[in-house]
Assembly symmetry: C2
Homo-oligomer: 298 residues x 2
């Protein structure tokens, strides 16, 4: 069983705290760290971990314990919106585990975090049972500074824990979601208007695909433009469908696709899904992939 966990922690400047954060992961059994990205201007670190349910649960508890000790939101400044010391914790199903399992894990971990550390927890995305509280931006609106007032507003009592913020650690948002894929398509043109038109055509906010965020940007050093995207559910809005839509929209302006790129990590299933589509693979099973079969053997 593989669950990805991507805790967003409100510390991106103090090297010794970040180093201790990473070292703490290495002490936790059943979980591996794939990536650590710290951003000083955001004053935030994003950890990417993978493990089984027990491993990621242990890690989150260690993470909250340390953050409560080391981070004080009352003096924390940074460009990125945040509610708490361990700001957001998504659990992401990768293999041998369902979204429902990850939602259940969110509730279990949320309850323990609230009880053990006195940090109120909001559930989000697939773990949320309240349609008005699925979206992370909605939950985080007002940030730490507005949290005391927000928590007493009708409809904004937390899912677990006290009805007021933890004095220094605020609140945490815990939930389950699909893996995010950062996917860019470079166009063989320098016409920014074309990239913007295509981004507008394919993103959800303006009538496009349900799980696509997109914007058109210029890559000045290369003299080309790019449709820069986040895909938030590659099962329901697959890479191939997005690629083909961008290609068709670009052709309408007489523009070709130069190349596409995946930034960071991508689940194997997102790539094999594209292969299945283009090769018209029928009756393909995930356990026909040699490496997947091998992992299933344990």
């Amino acid at each position: 069983m593989l669950i990805e966990c991507v805790p967003n922690v409100s510390e991106g400047r103090r090297a010794e705290i970040i180093a201790a954060m990473v070292e703490a992961i290495r002490q936790v059994s059943g979980v591996r760290v794939l990536d650590v990205s710290s951003d000083a201007s955001h004053n935030r670190s994003v950890l990417t971990l993978v493990g089984d349910a027990a491993g990621v649960e242990r890690d989150v508890l260690v993470r909250v314990e340390r953050a409560v000790a080391d981070i004080d939101l009352r003096t924390h400044r940074g460009e990125h919106p945040r509610l708490g010391a361990v700001d957001v914790v998504p659990f992401i199903p990768i293999e041998g585990v369902t979204m429902a399992d990850c939602a259940a894990l969110s509730r279990k971990v949320g309850a323990v975090v609230a009880e053990r550390y006195g940090v109120p927890v909001y559930l989000y995305e697939e773990a949320s049972t309240n349609p008005a509280r699925k979206n992370l931006e909605d939950i985080r609106r007002g940030e730490f500074e507005g949290l005391t007032a927000k928590m007493t507003t009708p409809g904004w009592a937390p899912d677990f824990g006290p009805s007021a913020p933890h004095p220094s650690a605020g609140a945490s948002v815990v939930g389950a979601r699909m893996p995010l894929i950062a996917y860019n398509i470079n166009l063989a043109t320098d016409r920014l208007d074309v990239a913007k038109q295509i981004a507008s055509a394919i993103r959800q906010s303006s009538g496009g695909f349900r799980y696509v965020k997109a914007m058109g940007v210029t890559l000045a050093d290369r003299g080309i433009v790019q449709v820069s995207m986040n895909l938030s559910n590659f099962e329901k809005t697959p890479l191939a469908r997005v690629f083909e839509a961008v290609k068709r929209e670009a052709a309408r302006y007489g523009v070709a696709i130069l190349e596409s790129e995946i930034v960071g990590l991508v689940p194997s299933a997102a790539l094999s899904g594209a292969a299945e589509f283009y090769l018209q693979l029928g009756n393909f099973r995930a356990d026909q992939v040699l490496e997947t079969k091998l992992r299933q053997l344990g």
Copy 2:
């Protein structure tokens, strides 16, 4: 490090010998069994194992030891050509290991098999240093029954071991090759002549791709025809190139592709290669695949 090893053993009928063969693998550390296919009419079993270099080496030695004890080629009958009790042992690089590593492993294991069990060993494919002795069919021509004569023919001394066959276990062929992919493309027609023309166009033997074997067959129960293929090097003749060539050839007869299918196992890299091609992925690295990165961490 992942090496696949596919020993072909000359026993496909006696259930107790086959069961003991499989049980023996489970006793070997550093190797896992992915598949066992026994064919009574061939009187042959094909084992698919994966492990590190030490694991697959240990397994091959156990395999030869048991086969020398249990199998007697002097009384062995079956439809499939064979030279020995452990007839063929290919080592196949899957991850974190090169073809050159697998060729070196073939030589190391070949020398030990010859010395320890008195079974002469021929190296084949990428492990062979003799261009006339790369091809398995050439080495196996004459079979066990012709082996004594063949081994005294100029140019046919074995790479390791005695210059005469082991009395009961014959000789073994050990080498390194790429994974085989059994890949079929179903056409939206019942015209067998079209499938045969396409197979002829794409297979090496009649001028097509270097690493493709192909034939046209009828799927009578579905009322369609199929181009049935073996791809012996997906890096040099990739799935996508073969699929596109078949599609184009079929279009020349007004025929569309209904679907394609992969039979059995496929390395993850063969599928991600197809995704890279169709999505025009630039600068993609294998360690961007989450599961690959995780395996690299060990």
